[in-house]
Symmetry: C2
Subunit: 105 residues, 2 copies
């Protein structure tokens, strides 16, 4: 289980987080991570119907923005939300975005 480079909590930039969340595919990934806990890259590709390299691209953006944590275990990479870090830095932001994704139409 090796860690990968992530921005420190204090280095997370608001505009980058908002930018990362402003894509429908990434927002869906985040919503799924919020409810399912963890996810591999392949899961995202299957669930969202995008090419695996596209999913990988989105994961990188989410990771570099500080939204998700990626840890390698064996030959899989598990992604999870950095809930505490985000809540520490931008209180309430993630929660409001997540509840907004549940809003209808």
């Amino acid at each position: 289980m090796r860690p990968l480079p992530h921005p420190a909590t204090g280095d997370i930039q608001l505009t980058e987080v908002l930018r990362a969340l402003s894509d429908p595919v990434r927002l869906e990934i985040v919503a799924r991570l919020a409810s399912h806990g963890e996810m591999t890259c392949g899961d995202a590709g299957d669930a969202l119907g995008v090419h695996k390299s596209t999913a990988s691209h989105h994961y990188r953006i989410l990771r570099e923005a500080g939204v998700v944590l990626t840890k390698q275990e064996g030959r899989l990479k598990f992604m999870s939300l950095r809930r505490e870090d985000l809540d520490d830095r931008f209180p309430g932001l993630l929660d409001s975005v997540l509840s907004a994704t549940h809003a209808v139409a």
Copy 2:
């Protein structure tokens, strides 16, 4: 005081709002609108050091995303935040973003 076309509250899209807020210039505009109440396009250009056409461009994006309300009065156009509409559609989102803009470094 003539109104301009704006999206209805129910038509405001989460990804578009996040996208609109993911630019430093626009985020600064929104922060100023939150504290100063209203602003003209010229004010924004002066305060942010961008060309007036650039400011106009950003206002359009904010307006079309449903973040700001634009009303014409004489030859000036006043922009204001659609706080109630946003709070109605995405509760807590605007507040958390605004308080996040106050976060240091």
